[in-house]
Every structure is written in structure tokens, then in C-alpha cells.
Assembly symmetry: C2
Homo-oligomer: 334 residues x 2
């Protein structure tokens, strides 16, 4: 393959496509279960139960401080399995590549994707590429679908949540959304804000031992505030957050203040929100703080027997209702 | 949801997105295994073995005579399982929707997708939507990932192919590619050419009873000729096709002659190519001809102990080497 950029012929089913798949995708993703000559792969599953999830990725820019669309496409799907109490086994990968895309960049992104998959213990076992004409894509869109294995008989879910339960977050919020925004826009702002994007498996695994764990979720699109609304919608209970307890890095807060964003609505890609019984909150917090990615973990609020409100108790002791996201066109952060 | 078109807010994680997912995706795709409030779904699998495949879809136009991107997104993945000797159980769905996309059209396409899934017996159990900015998409891109169950202990694969084996096709070739081309381009040509897109499950199921079945594949991107090249590459054997035996509809041939395309390279989305032992060829043909979608089935050639060539014996008895697709930017037909 002696070209430097993607052409429509890389999507036509012929020699160019075969070489693209072999020299970039198979080259980086190769593993004993990946067979690029087959229509469907046969997989052996431990037991007769699997967990299944899918996620699409259209982040801009494709590379940002702390990650890129390749690693994000693994972390997003791995994390959906992780917060469901599972570990990933197998992933499929779809790539929509725009004509004119630089092959060196594609190679870098798929390499990064492969590294993230290896770290999380997941194998890419099925894939497909489509080439879309110049002007009909954002460079590269990815979609991954994951098959996982439940790590605990515990059935986690919002239906387990009860009034009085504590709400925890594993680290600072809004880092990913802010890092991507700064990388994209020409705000003239520079700093060392990095995305928090990573696999949350170490954080979710250790919480499965906590008696009283109800529910976990990674606060991606819509951020921490949106997860709180999801809990409130699904349970009919209220949520009360203590602003002073929510970890937000100073540079993230400063950038958000300047640009008019609320970090509570900005995406994280490496954090976990957990709801646990009140009696188990301190233990969960301790487990998290022992982990590298959990040292800033905090108990940030509780579930209340009030009707469907998300209330933020401000640092001055006032209360403010945290509204649901409406028509804000938030940046493409995942 | 009182809007008529997709806005960026439909992708932000908040209320608009929740309503879009509920009112279009859940509305059409709803089934007992689909839970839009969960990160990963728990699935029960018969046995401890599954088959797994994925496919992306970027066809233009989104609706064409005989199908649309919605039904195609189901048929493409269902057919990859079918030709592998499996039946589909579960599907995941990713949608990349362009800002400004008409909601009525989205509703129609997802309805069509749901109908195709029902017909094939597959349940959509996981999904994700992303909204990309105006000018950064082709309206709608879809990706589906399928989990299936093997219907027979037979391990189909190109490694089973032997010299002397017969090659069959289940119906006329090039219909889908030609129909999509005519629907897109302003050639001023009109006719009743319809896509052949459909589930091939009835065709693959009945062939599993044929003793001597080696391999099946659906000739999509790159068409029949590309499947022949794949066989030749993988086995090291040659392939000899009889032009006069290959079913091609007259209007398809006429349009291809006018536009300079070879129907052997154009996509089918509802045909099967099968390789069977010579002694089983007539039985396979009979099974197919009993099916509605197999009445034009034909034995079109054989595998030969020559080195990696795809040879077409012309109607006049001459021979021509069928080259592999190179840099032809073929129309976006899947």
C-alpha cells in the first residue's frame, strides 16, 4: 500500500481495501480470534450468559491531551461493561473513514485503540470499514460493540436504589470535556488540562466486594448532572448533591467560568458514579482511594425521598435546582 | 418532541436525546430485552458458543427501490451470520445522524429496520446514537453487530474447498448495485430494477442439509467477482466461471453496458454464493430452486487446481482473466 491518504477505492471491496485492512487493522489488532477472511467469528463464552453493549464515537479533534478517538472507542465500551459489573471479553469495531484521511494518522489511532484493548483484556474479533466521500464525514467515526462476562452475581441497577443511599464519584469531573474543548477551539487558552479517559475496570472491580453496592455509571455525555437526572427519572426519588464535596480541578473550573460552561454537565471518560447503601459509603470510598485513579474519590450526595428533583447545596449553604440539559449544543466530546 | 429535524441537542445526553431515543428508537425497536436505561444488557445464550459479526452502512441514497439503509443494516449483518451457518439472535445498533436530518425520514428508516429485524428473528438489544454537525455526515450512517447461534455442527470455511468443487449462486447478480446507482445518479434512466436486498436465511438454512457443503458467502461489496478472488487468494486454487451460466437480468446488463460497469463486480445484498462438492451440486441447486428467492439459482463454475486465477469462459468459448478490483471508486452501495 504505497498511498498516503484514504481514497474511495479503499472501500470498494477490492485489493486496496484488503491491503488497508491487513496493513493497518490486522497489523495492530491481530489476535488468535481475529480472522479477516471470515464473515462471522465463532466465540466460546464462559457460561451461557453474556453482557452486551455498544457505543459510537465522533469526538473532534481526533487526538487530544490524554487520549484520542482510538483509545476512547475502547474505553467507552469497556467502561459500559465495567459499570455493569462485567469485564470485557470481545469487541467488534466499525470505522467510517473519510476520503482523503491521512493513513499515518489512521495507523496511529488504530495503534492506540489496540493498546487500549490490550490493557483492558479485550480482544477485537470482528470489524468493518466503510469509506465515505470527502465532505461526508468528520475524518473518522468509530463504533465498538462489546461482549463481557459478569464478575459478580450482583445485579446492579437503578431499581436497587433507596432513599438514604450515598452517591460517590471516583475522581474530578469535567476534565475530559474541558480538555477536548480546549484542544478544538481557538480560545487562546493553554494549560495542562488532560482528559481523564481511561478504563475504569480497576475502580468497578474493587467495588463489587462492597455489600450495599446498588448501581454504577460512567458520567459521559451530559456529565455528572445527567446521571443524577437519570437516577431521579428512573427511581422517582430526589438527589441532593453537596457542591463543596464534588471534586473539580481548579483549572477546569477556571476554564468553565470563562467560557460559561458548568463542569457538572461536562463529560468524563474515566470516572465512575456509584450509589451505595449509606452504611457502605465509607468502605466504598476507602476502596476507591486506594486506587491510583480513585485518590480524589468523594461522597458527593445522597438519594432522598422527595419527588424527582436534583438539588445542589451550594458552598454558601443555599439550594439550587440542577436543571436537565435542554437544547445546549455541547461540544462533540465522545 | 415537537421538532421536525435533528439538532445538535439531540446528541448532548439531555432531554432531547432521551426523547429521540424513546420516541423513535425504542418506539420501533422495543422488545423485552431492550432496556434504554442500562449501560449493558444481560443476554442468555443457548450453549457456550456464539457467532459474532459486524457491518457498517453508508449507502446513498438512503432509500432506493427494494430497500433502504434501515433494512439493509439488518440484512447485512443477518446475512453474514446466515452464510456462516448461523441464525441471528441479538443485534446492536449504532446511528451517526447528521444535524438537520429530517425526523420523519429517520422514523421511516428505523421502522423499516425494526420490520427487517422482526422478519429475521433478531432482537435489537443495545444501541447508541451520535449527532454530528451539519456537513460532517452523509445524513445517516448505521452500524450493526450481531450475535448468532450456529445451526449445524458443520464448520463452514474456505479451508474446506477442494479442486473440483462446484460454485453456485442463488440468483441474479448486480441488482442491488445497479438499483442504488440508478436511484442516486441523474442518468435519465428509468426502469424497474429493484435491489435484491433481503435476508438470505431461508437460502442458507436449507443448504446446511447438503452433505458436501464447503463454504457460503454473500457477494456484497465487490460483487461475485470479488468473492471468487477471495476464494482464490485463500485457497491458492483457481476459479473457472462460465459466463453463460451466471444469472444477470437483462435490464441490469443493459444499464451496466451503457454506464461501463461489469455486473460481476456490483454488490448483491440478498444473494448467496456457495461452494459444494461436485457430487452435491445438483442437490444444492434443487434445494435452492424450491425457494422463492432461489428460483434463478445456477451452477456457475468450479474450483480448479491451477494457481490463483479467476477465469471467465465467455459465451463464445474464449477465456478472460477476471482481474481483482483495483482503484475503482465504486458507488456507495452498502
Amino acid at each position: 500500500m504505497d498511498d498516503t491518504h484514504i481514497s474511495l477505492a479503499h472501500g470498494n471491496g477490492g485489493r486496496f481495501m484488503r491491503e488497508l485492512i491487513r496493513e493497518i487493522f490486522q497489523h495492530h489488532l491481530g489476535n488468535p480470534d481475529l480472522d479477516i477472511n471470515t464473515d462471522a467469528v465463532t466465540l466460546t463464552i464462559p457460561g451461557s450468559e453474556i453482557m452486551f453493549t455498544t457505543d459510537g464515537f465522533s469526538v473532534q479533534p481526533l487526538e487530544f491531551p490524554g487520549g484520542d478517538i482510538g483509545s476512547l472507542a475502547v474505553h467507552g465500551t469497556v467502561n459500559d461493561l465495567a459499570v455493569s459489573g462485567a469485564e470485557p471479553l470481545y469487541l467488534s469495531l466499525n470505522a467510517f473513514i473519510e476520503e482523503g484521511f491521512e493513513l499515518a494518522l489512521l495507523d496511529r489511532l488504530i495503534h492506540s485503540l489496540a493498546e487500549a484493548a490490550k490493557e483492558s483484556g479485550a480482544r477485537i474479533v470482528a470489524g468493518d470499514t466503510k469509506v465515505v466521500p470527502r465532505g461526508h464525514g468528520g475524518g473518522l467515526y468509530l463504533a465498538t460493540t462489546g461482549i463481557g462476562r459478569r464478575l459478580s452475581p450482583l445485579k446492579l441497577g437503578m431499581e436497587n436504589i433507596e432513599p438514604g443511599d450515598a452517591i460517590l464519584v471516583s475522581g474530578s469531573v469535567g476534565d475530559h470535556g474541558t480538555a477536548v474543548m480546549l484542544a478544538r477551539e481557538a480560545f487562546g487558552l493553554h494549560g495542562d488540562i488532560r482528559s481523564d479517559a481511561t478504563s475504569v475496570l480497576p475502580l468497578t472491580r474493587c467495588l463489587l466486594d462492597v455489600d450495599g453496592l446498588r448501581f454504577m455509571r460512567d458520567p459521559t455525555r451530559g456529565g455528572l448532572a445527567t446521571v443524577m437526572h437519570e437516577i431521579s427519572h428512573a427511581t422517582g426519588f430526589g438527589v441532593r448533591l453537596e457542591q463543596s464535596s464534588i471534586p473539580i480541578k481548579d483549572p477546569v473550573q477556571s476554564v468553565c467560568d470563562m467560557l460559561g460552561y458548568d463542569p457538572l454537565f461536562l463529560a468524563c471518560e474515566g470516572r465512575v458514579v456509584a450509589v451505595v447503601a449509606e452504611t457502605a459509603a465509607e468502605q466504598a470510598l476507602e476502596y476507591w482511594r486506594q486506587k491510583a485513579d480513585g485518590k480524589d474519590a468523594a461522597i458527593i450526595g445522597r438519594v432522598e425521598d422527595t419527588h424527582q428533583h436534583v438539588v445542589l447545596v451550594t458552598e454558601l449553604g443555599g439550594e439550587r435546582i440542577l436543571e436537565e440539559l435542554e437544547d445546549e449544543p455541547l461540544p462533540r466530546i465522545c
